[in-house]
Homo-oligomer: 340 residues x 2
């Protein structure tokens, strides 16, 4: 309950390694007022995503981090509470980037009006939001993948990977998903209908990978990074194309791992198999959002792209929700915290 | 002297690690005869290049290797001894791919007639041969580099790197060359006029790199690989472009190095700085050879692209010549063995 105040979870400290509860601090600010051309909105749903760890600093990202004392960032679904902007009316549902606070204001361009008839509002944080957009952009604009080839998706049960994997199927690829644990693997096989799915925690992972990839890897959608990548990269075919969307297992690392240095091997694979590795960052490509929504909205409406959501109720649960993404307990469903 | 026989250095064993003398065997075969449409040629100069280590197998290459018992491969300059081919006359100088033998035959398409008025014949193995072509293709077709940016060339004193570095200068880039030893560094600064040159053997290499790259790296031409790359890669700017031409320091490696695993760091750099790493292989792009010769021949003739050659006399010196490329004793000059 907001009690006439604006609750905010602000960044109290930059984490060393995984984020801890004490890196966040709950404060109460005044509800902001608006001037002409602005809207005041109240957040009702908060998206919880791995990349948010990078916003906190000391992680693997080179992107700007949130200032200490500022609210934690991220997409939300909100409702317009007050409007002095001609395009928005009180009660309009919108998607915003205001982060972890009850109330915030906008001049308009950074918020997107939502149509609850089109799809449930929560999808604006998942398949029809940043998650779906990341999957679509990586599978559409970064590389073009030829039908018939084999696509590997890591983090395939997650909110981005599951959509990338389904887009791969829709585009005629043979799709092999990698995920952690038997439940996620079953979801990939049975619910998403992937051609194969592998538990990266299985002791015989390298053998399973070999059996799952008799024709090698033509396309690779990377969400995870970490120790499984050197196993997978050996299966790159000539001219394999890899899209780096994320490397969740590296986000909290504060130093590089020791052991075998696989860098020369990756360079050799690029050298002799012409593996083409590309990355992207959604903030730079938001102009393609309308094209994404035009393709993805009907796919979501018609159930051709499935998604899973897990709701957690209570603003106070935000830190724990985010921390759960990194401790291996998270189910892989899209995690959304609903405001109380 | 050929003594009416065809001397051949054949592959006697696949090396483990660097090539050894015993991996080559000198045999005498009969001089081949030709049928209609063929030419017989006698090799006069043999090109010695690092990539030839890969032809021997057990190295880092994934390319087809020479069969045991077959002559060692590589480009040569030759003279036509007998011709039943309308395009070639006895005495014509040609560039061939016949490898380490005195005599060989051809149907024509794999040999190139040379014009001794245009440039010294030896240049067909260096700046106007595979070396120059590799440098030109990597600097022209793999990536386009914007004038004003900073180019780093590893192995910059070598027969490929020195040409890539000079092409960089001609295209308006600030060029920093990396090489081993004070002599090579002086050559890069004084003879090639590079903007800076760094000895990778210097104990303060990382500091020197930092001072030489105040504006980071926009373009990277890689000939070397090995432990210096993780030092250099930290200086990649956003959208840096890297061309892998070779990784000589890894060619003889039989296992991956141990210590810090830099692979996640490279993936992070690709992820957040959009570093674009591409490789190429000359056999697939020979159709651009005329374009290369049209640009490079006048540059070599007018002395705008300099080259250095070191001649070793005697067919019997072929194995030692090649081994010298890998033991750190080689000067960096283009190594050519002349037949006796």
């Amino acid at each position: 309950m907001t009690n006439g105040k604006n609750r905010q979870y602000v960044l109290a400290a930059r984490p060393q390694g995984p984020a801890k509860r004490s890196d966040f601090k709950l404060i109460e600010a005044d509800i902001p007022s608006i001037s002409d051309g602005q809207v005041l909105f109240r957040n009702t749903m908060f998206s919880i995503d791995p990349y948010q760890r990078n916003l906190m600093g000391n992680g693997s990202s080179e992107w700007p981090t949130i200032a200490l004392g500022d609210p934690m960032g991220g997409p939300t679904v909100a409702v317009v509470e007050e409007s002095k902007h001609p395009d928005f009316n009180v009660g309009d549902p919108v998607q915003t980037w205001s982060g972890w606070q009850d109330f915030a204001t906008s001049d308009g361009p950074d918020i997107r009006k939502l149509d609850p008839e089109e799809a449930p509002l929560s999808t604006a944080l998942g398949p029809l939001g940043l998650n779906g957009f990341s999957a679509w952009y990586g599978m559409t604009k970064v590389h073009t993948f030829k039908p018939g080839g084999t696509l590997v998706v890591t983090g395939a049960a997650g909110s981005v990977g599951s959509i990338a994997a389904q887009l791969g199927k829709l585009r005629g690829l043979r799709v092999v998903g990698i995920a952690g644990g038997a439940k996620k693997v079953a979801f990939l096989r049975e619910d998403l209908g992937l051609d194969d799915a592998i538990d990266y925690r299985a002791h015989n992972f390298a053998d399973r990978v070999r059996r799952a990839l008799p024709d090698g890897i033509d396309a690779f959608f990377e969400n995870v990074g970490g120790p499984i990548f050197p196993v997978l990269m050996e299966h790159f075919n000539r001219d394999a194309k890899m899209t780096i969307c994320g490397t969740i297992s590296d986000y909290s690392e504060t130093e590089l791992p020791k052991g075998i240095n696989y860098l020369p091997r990756l360079i050799t694979l690029i050298h002799y198999r012409f593996v083409d590795i590309k990355a992207f960052a959604t903030p730079y490509v938001m102009d393609t959002m309308p094209e994404f929504l035009a393709e993805m909205t009907p796919l979501v409406k018609q159930g051709k792209v499935k998604y899973r959501e897990e709701f957690i109720d209570g603003f106070a649960k935000l830190p724990e929700a985010m921390m759960s993404l990194f401790d291996g307990t998270h189910s892989g469903k899209k995690l959304i915290v609903r405001a109380d």
